[in-house]
Symmetry: C2
Amino acid sequence: MPATLQFWFDFASTYSYLSAMRIQQAAAEKRVAVEWHPFLLGPIFAEQGWNNSPFNLYPAKGRYMWRDMERLCAARDLPFQQPKNFPQNSLQAARLALAIGSTNQRGAFVRAVYSAQFGAGQDISDLRVLAECLASSGVSQDVMEQIGSPQIKSALFEQVARAKALHIFGAPSFIAKDELFWGDDRLDDAISFVASI
Amino acid sequence: MPATLQFWFDFASTYSYLSAMRIQQAAAEKRVAVEWHPFLLGPIFAEQGWNNSPFNLYPAKGRYMWRDMERLCAARDLPFQQPKNFPQNSLQAARLALAIGSTNQRGAFVRAVYSAQFGAGQDISDLRVLAECLASSGVSQDVMEQIGSPQIKSALFEQVARAKALHIFGAPSFIAKDELFWGDDRLDDAISFVASI
């Protein structure tokens, strides 16, 4: 069994886009497996007293983040568009991702959702956009039926509780053993750490 | 005249320690000159509604930062100790740094102060500690006399005003042309950008 890195992300998180697009390949190069963990930052931010993204609450930081994303995406040849609304409602996308049992299919769907949002500027709270993401990532539309099921609702609730218990305070976050790594800037360190244990 | 990168730092900033200890050499390797810009984050944080370091205001983030610093310093063979008090009062250190006219001497003093604080856990609001930093970096003790002068007080005031005008919201920050780079994680990108223009 290969060593495993947990990748925790909120679909509304800009920097998670950067990690989502490269984690599968970067981890595979070091024989590390990826666990895809969608969660919601909203309840965690709320406990910090934030009712909005810190990038909206602190305009200088937000202004910088958009420019930083623009530069980083250009350097990585990743398409980038600032969506009209930010942060987008990521609830349905997170539920759908949890409803996809296959790790590879879930990864493909995650990449499709991030690409739709930050590559093409689409609205991922729109179920039609999510249906297209399922299709483009080769996942059956059947999972749509689970989007409102008690099982999936409670699975997402559990994810948020686990994130809090793991002391996660932002996204992307990476967990291996008891080590937390925060931010796309730490993805390579996190993979190296997993590969070394 | 070589291209120049502005390095903006608050002496109380942990991640600025990482940059302070490597910027001179990393920049020189790409024929980039460094301008050392001490400033104070306090007035900038106050405008964001913070009366303390965000690492104290948001405990999960603070807990992570100390572990992250520990890992990064270990990887770079940098000594690291968490000082008893955080953040330390960086006012006198910032004034002294501004009173040192020579760029090389100022850089040496900045490294000495960061090493005293985060390498040896010393209190940089203590003038005796700062006097030792002057000595170990080969700077005349005469600059101590300027620490309370109107010129130096107003020079630091000006630095904070410039930092705000440059949309700086944290430290370390790097400025070249109209580009802002934030965080030790962006130092290499900032140097490469300067070297390319």
